[in-house]
């Protein structure tokens, strides 16, 4: 059976010819690419004394070749290269499990692929966090052989969490799957782009996770120069891995932006656009604006590193790296959290069966957070500024809490006097709002320069940003996973175990990270495997709760995976939602809407029973 998305006519399917499974072919081509180019560079073009087989320079080029081989092998050869030279697209996607192991043009398949890659990243980086917490149970070095090993682990944790999970799960994962459905389209705008970009993500995760092969690196996820230039070669894989992961996000954002702009169903006017689509639009625009900026920075840093230029060293300008990193780095955190805000406003009207309150303010909030986010970067650098230089950044940082507050405004107004069904997603959204409140209050405190100068680079900051990222984004992601599980799998989770899982992570999370805030004020600084003994007891306790949290995430994962297969069959629209994704029963590999829908009213009005859509009547060709 061939998929409707293959875009090939039967006559092109050369039955007799066999192809390696795409993943195997990708690995094979990647290996060839690496060995050919690496050998060429290290043995011929750029031979160094003693001719080591792998050098900084050769590994950079070898990696690039390997990544190209990987993508071509997975399908870019048939989907991009051959069509470019005028050949027809010959890409047959079998309609079974194999479609998940190759490039696919179905946005639902791509969404699931992204979710799996992203969750894998989360657990790999989570394992790193567990090792860090194990080390921190003791005030001297005991888990890791050297401080370098610990610091590499911190960097791997932060990098993979941010670039493969935080900014990816809700945008590339849920976004790819749901946005076309929610706007009544049968595909994304550029299906081949997302097909390719998904496979950059695992490449990036593996690159960063394996970076210690080349040598440890001590900078953490920010890769501050000039320290990075001193580091052994592992830092090269940090740059390259982040490049692959951010490129993946950039491509998805271009695709989703175009999808939202141009692929909306008939009648889906601007003031009917779903909240989640607004969130994705805002986050995508941030990606489109800032990812090229950070990629240029990383390319400069990489060149500076492999070619030994002094760009960011003392005779260059060390501060420049910091500035350009945070110029991207702050918008980055809104890429993480804006989709989560949008999801609160997506789930609460459904769960309370009540009209969304102050919708325009909700949208305004998302858009203004997006716009302000470019004005605040230097609040990460107050320790590099004096006196009144800090004030503008302090000002905008405080002001950003106003549009952020609108997400609370609409959510609270929506549940007031609703008939709230206390399901697992509801519970998780409420927890998420509580956590983000803490994240926001500590954020306002950090925006105050006087407090910032004390709390900067301590565990207070680490607590603050984990409250915003885990507290808001991860909890909302879990809400989304439970909410859409019936959509993805046709099966329902267990309400009881879902709530157990939610309460478990909520308690463990607050007990662990609440203490991060306190221990930071007590003098615990960052990036230290070794610390003064007076902080040991508190660290010990934090670690116990952190392990509990890790197990809690694992528990939820097992529950979801289990229910995906064995849960009770769910109704087509179990929550009685009005949004379009529930009006289609298409599973991956099937067409979403046939005929396409025509939208009649907004999706968030629960005051009447009028249908929100009707099948579009066949167009009269005149």
């Amino acid at each position: 059976m061939s998929s409707t998305f293959a875009g090939t006519s039967e006559s092109f399917l050369r039955k007799g010819r066999r192809m390696l499974p795409p993943v195997v072919r990708g690995l094979f081509w990647a290996a060839i690419g690496f060995f050919v180019v690496n050998t060429l560079v290290s043995q011929a073009l750029d031979r160094t004394p003693f001719a080591p087989y792998v050098t900084k320079v050769s590994v950079t080029f070898g990696w690039a070749a390997a990544t190209c081989g990987w993508l071509l092998g997975l399908g870019a050869w048939e989907l991009v290269v051959r069509p470019y030279f005028g050949k027809p697209v010959e890409w047959e996607v079998p309609n079974d499990w194999r479609r998940y192991f190759m490039m696919s043009l179905d946005h639902k398949v791509v969404g699931l692929q992204y979710m799996v890659s992203s969750v894998s990243g989360f657990f790999i980086a989570g394992l790193a966090a567990m090792l860090m917490r194990l080390e921190l149970m003791n005030s001297s070095l005991w888990t890791f052989p050297t401080p370098n090993a610990y610091l590499s682990t911190v960097g791997i944790h932060g990098t993979i969490m941010m670039f493969s999970f935080g900014t990816v799960m809700l945008v590339s994962g849920f976004g790819n799957y749901l946005i076309p459905l929610m706007i009544g389209s049968n595909s994304s705008a550029f299906p081949r782009v997302s097909a390719i970009s998904q496979w950059l993500l695992p490449a990036g995760i593996i690159t960063v996770a394996l970076s210690p092969i080349l040598g440890t690196w001590t900078t953490g996820w920010r890769g501050y120069a000039p320290l990075a230039e001193q580091d052994p070669n592992g830092i090269v894989f940090y740059y390259l891995g982040v490049f692959a992961m951010t490129l993946s996000s950039l491509l998805v954002s271009i695709n989703l932006t175009a999808t939202i702009l141009f692929k909306r169903a008939k009648g889906l006017t601007w003031n009917r656009i779903p909240m989640y689509a607004w969130g994705i639009l805002a986050a995508s625009l941030l990606n489109i604006i800032w990812i090229p900026e950070i990629e240029m920075t990383f390319i400069l840093a990489l060149v500076s590193n492999v070619a030994s230029l002094p760009l960011f060293a003392q005779i260059g300008t060390p501060l420049t790296y910091m500035e350009v990193f945070w110029l991207f780095g702050h918008p980055e955190v809104y890429i993480v959290v804006v989709p989560a805000f949008a999801l609160w406003q997506e789930f609460l009207p459904v769960m309370g069966q009540k009209t969304l309150f102050g919708r325009a303010w909700g949208v305004l909030g998302l858009v203004f957070v997006m716009m302000f986010s470019g004005l605040v970067w230097a609040h990460h650098m107050f320790t590099n500024m004096r006196d009144d230089q800090m004030l503008p950044f302090s000002f905008f940082t405080e002001m950003i809490s106003i549009p952020t507050g609108f997400a609370f405004l609409t959510s609270i107004g929506t549940v007031w006097k609703s008939k709230l069904r206390l399901t697992t997603p509801t519970l998780l959204v409420f927890m998420s709002m509580f956590n983000f409140l803490i994240g926001g209050v500590t954020g306002v405190m950090l925006a105050d320069p006087v407090i910032n100068l004390q709390a900067h680079d301590t565990f207070f900051v680490v607590g603050h940003f984990h409250y915003t990222i885990i507290g808001a984004m991860v909890f909302t992601f879990m809400a989304a996973a439970y909410y859409w599980l019936p959509k993805f799998s046709g099966r329902m989770y267990s309400e009881f175990w879902g709530k157990v899982g939610a309460i478990w992570v909520f308690v463990a999370f607050n007990c662990a990270f609440g203490q991060f805030l306190l221990i930071g004020l007590r003098g615990m600084n960052r990036w230290v495997p070794v610390y003064p003994p007076y902080l040991r007891n508190m660290n010990f306790e934090i670690s116990l709760f952190a392990f509990l949290l890790g197990l809690g995430f694992l528990f939820n994962l097992v529950h979801i995976v289990w229910m995906w297969r064995y849960g009770k069959p769910a109704k087509a629209n179990p929550w009685n939602a009005k949004t379009l994704e529930w009006q289609s029963t298409a599973m991956p590999g099937e067409t979403n809407f046939n005929p396409p829908p025509e939208v009649l009213t907004g999706f968030y009005d629960y005051s009447d029973e009028q249908p929100v859509w009707k099948p579009e009547s066949p167009v009269e060709v005149s």
Binding site: G352, F357, R421, Q454, P529
Partner: protein, 270 residues
């Protein structure tokens, strides 16, 4: 109406409880240990923000709990939808927007701008003519403290470890540089460090190639032995030795400081 009244009562109770909690926290010392006027500025700022925000935090938290309990769908309720369907409430939104703008402007004026002024007051030229100057050099992974006014080139304890002595109730001007005194010819060797004394309540990054200043006003006699927060700690990751970049600090009376200076000079001449 009933809901409004009940909620308001719960909100007030919540605010009072939270105010009490924050007050207790401040009594205990939000910063745990403060030994400079700058640290006290920071502590006041935290106290102010928390005091003002307590009712706001209470509003959201009580709202979440109240909604969750009071507006839950009951089992056996056949009609899924709520009777109350409204899209907006001008009064609520108006108050919300105005209050959030007002609070942020307030925080910007105080504590942000005002406390900042206060914290950097010691930098004012007219106030710091009598400053004690301490030259701080950070290298990977060591601190050096020298006192040019006293001719101490590198303050050390009996074991040869760097140590910092400061007189109490004085303005201290730290001159911060990052380079390797033993490899001054190598401009690639310096990295970014962070100069922090937790009990003093502020820090500054030290950037290779730049000379920076940080002022504090010591406010009590104390030392690392009294409280481990009275230490110099590097806060910007600077390689594997980063956690070991710490040095004890002693804040002593003017007399003890003179004695210490003499001892250092003697050590140095030996």
């Amino acid at each position: 109406m009933l809901d409004l009244v009940l909620f308001t009562i719960a909100w007030i109770v919540g605010s009072v409880l939270l105010e009490w909690l924050f007050h207790a926290l401040n009594q205990y010392g939000t910063y745990f240990y403060t030994a400079s006027s700058q640290a006290v500025d920071g502590e006041h700022a935290v106290a102010f923000i928390l005091t003002i925000l307590a009712p706001v935090i209470a509003f959201v938290v009580v709202m979440l709990i109240y909604n969750f309990i009071r507006f839950r769908a009951r089992a056996g309720d056949t009609n899924l939808r709520s009777r109350h369907q409204f899209r907006t409430n001008k009064l609520f939104i108006g108050v919300w927007v105005l209050v959030s703008i007002g609070l942020n402007l307030l925080f910007f004026v105080h504590p942000s701008a005002s406390a900042l002024e206060q914290m950097f007051n010691s930098e004012q030229a007219r106030l710091n003519r009598q400053d004690l100057e301490v030259d701080v050099v950070a290298r990977q992974w060591q601190w050096f403290f020298s006192y040019p006014q006293y001719g101490i080139s590198s303050a050390q304890d009996a074991n040869g470890n760097a140590t910092l002595y400061l007189p109490v109730n004085r303005n201290v001007k730290f001159v911060l540089r990052s380079y390797d005194p033993w490899h001054t010819y190598d401009p690639y060797i310096g990295v970014i460090h962070g100069f922090w004394i937790p009990a003093f309540g502020l820090k500054q990054d030290i950037i290779p190639g730049e000379t920076r200043y940080m002022y504090v006003h010591t406010s009590k006699v104390t030392s690392y032995d009294v409280n481990p927060m009275v230490r110099v700690q590097c806060t910007e990751v600077c390689g594997p030795g980063h956690p070991y970049m710490e040095a004890p600090v002693h804040v002593v009376s003017a007399g003890d400081f003179q004695t210490w200076v003499k001892k250092q000079l003697k050590l140095q001449s030996d």
